[in-house]
Structures are given as C-alpha cells and as structure tokens.
Amino acid sequence: MHRTGDLYGQFQTLEQQKETATLGMWIFLVTEVLFFGGLFLTYTINRSAFSTAFGIGSNTLDITLGAGNTVVLIMSSLTMAMAVWSAQVGKKKLVGIFLIATLGLGTVFLGVKAIEYKQKFDHHLVPGRGFDMKYHPTHPMVGDDLKELSLEKEEVDKAFAVDPDINFHGQLYFSLYFGMTGLHALHMIVGAGLLLWLIKGSFAGRFTPQYNTPVEVVGLYWHFVDIVWIYLFPLLYLIDRHR
C-alpha cells in the first residue's frame, strides 16, 4: 500500500482518512456497548432476584475508594480531551504532557482497584471455597471501625435469617463484581498500552493539526472506558446505602 506522508493510498484527503478511522472506532465501541450491556443486564436480573445478598455485598465495598476512583477517571478523561485539543492546535509539547498525565491517572485508578481487590481477599469475599459473608464481621482486622463492624454483623445475621443461602447468592454478587470491574480494568490496561504508544509518537512530534488521528481515536476508546465506570460505580457501590 503506497502512502504519501501520513496519507494512505486509498484515501483522497487526510480529513477523509480521519473520518473513516473515527467511524471505525465508533463501530468497535458499539460492539463494546452491547458486550458490557449484556453484563449489566445479568447484574440487573440477579440483583432483583437476590436483592438481600446483593445489598449486603454492595455495602461491603469502600465508597471512599470508589468515589475517589471515579474522580480520578473523569480527570483522566479531561486530560485525554486536552491532549486531543493540544494536537489540534499544534502545541506538540503539551500533547505529550497531557498524555503522560492521562496514563498517570489511569495507573492510579488501577492501583486503587488493586487495593480494593486485596481487601476482598482478606475479608473472604472472593467467590470460591473460603467465601463467607460472616467472616469479616466476626474477625476484625487492624484499622477496622469496630462500631461499623458490629452494625455489619447485625445486618448479616438478619440477612442470614431471611435468606439462609446468602453465602451462595453473595458469591453471585461478587462474581459479577470481579467480572465487571475486572473486564473494565482489562480495558484500562489495554488503554494504558495505547497511551504508551501515543506518548512515544508525541515525543517524535508526530501529532500535528493536520494529522492527529491516533490521539483522537484512542481518546474515543478512553472516554468509552470512562462511561462504563460511570455506570459501574453507582450500580456496584451505591445500590443499598440508604438506611
């Protein structure tokens, strides 16, 4: 395939080439919408069938970490959008700076997620043999708020009285929690790889007002991953907080 500068042979103009690439990314994102949509649907159906277990499971998540991560991710979307703008107006140095900021914020998000996952392992809330929703309220750990924990115990006891199978239904909640946040995190890791590639290109001064398609297209992907989290956060963390 012959190519003149950044323009591939099958296109008439750079603008046409960019519109084609953008449309292609959007079509990929449509498949992603339906992919995550299926998971949200599964979650909704099971949540309405096992609302007791899902409520208890949801309330074990750390709302401060979850909300903090939401802020971090939305900030990374802002820096990504600013990277696109920098390329469009020809501020070559800023492109790299904003891309690095985006990658940094994405890494912070994944780090916080890792802390949250570790907590769930410590509390015996990972689906499998050791799973026990009664474990954490009866085994306080360093730094736990004992008053909060006794409230949690009361809640779990009450739930056990109504739904004796809560340890099974709770595993359903945590399977979906790990599945959905895990897939979301996997998308972030892919996005981080794409950002590294963009950062390399920006150091070489590749992105200009005439040619910035890669930044724009990766930006679309990054914002989509942000949107998935915008739905995951309230559905996983906030569904049963009102007392």
Partner: protein
C-alpha cells in the same frame, strides 16, 4: 467540512459538571427515596455519559453518519434490555429465580 475544535473552556465546564454529577449521585445514594434510589442513580449516570459522548467524544460535532452509528448502538442496547427484562418480569412466579426477599435495613 473543516474540523471542529472543542475549546478547553468547554472541556473544563463538562469536567465540572461530571464532578458535580458524581457528588450528587453519592449524596442521593444515602437518602431514602425508596424504589426511586436506583432510578435517580441511573438518570444521573446517563446524563454524565451523554455529556462525555457529546463533548469529550465530539459526537455533537461529528458527521451525521457517526451520529447515526451512536444512536443505533443505544437503540439496540434498549432492545436487548427492554425485551429481556420484560420477559423476566412477566413470567409466572414458579419459574422465576426464587429467593427470599427482605429489606435488611430496618
């Protein structure tokens, strides 16, 4: 058609709105609106998602062709959600996923 450049000012305004939305959704989660808690959470999330699509993802300034693709994706998602949920919701009780129901918060 020349490219539309969205200014940083708009990006900042959208970012601030998204932050505000996050704040409201966390606040609303702790209020007791009964069955409307989930509705409120989803409405706020959808407003936030729409802002991201329109401005961060430039959908508002995209060619009609791209906008059509976006609308189609939402349309198909709604078909999947609406038909599946109405199926689950209208089955007779004995074939439903059965589990004891309780509000564990007194």
């Amino acid at each position: 058609m020349s490219e539309h450049i969205v200014s940083p000012k708009i990006y900042i305004v959208i970012f601030a709105s998204l932050m505000l939305g996050t704040g409201i959704t966390v606040w609303a989660a702790f209020q007791n609106f009964h069955q409307f808690n989930i509705v409120i959470a989803l409405v706020i999330a959808t407003i936030k998602a729409t802002l991201v699509v329109l401005y961060f993802m430039h959908a508002r300034y995209s060619p009609k062709r791209t906008q059509l693709v976006i609308v189609c994706s939402v349309f198909w998602l709604v078909i999947m959600l609406a038909l599946t949920l109405s199926d689950y919701d209208t089955r007779s009780r004995d074939v439903r996923l059965a589990a004891p129901q309780v509000s564990h918060r007194a």
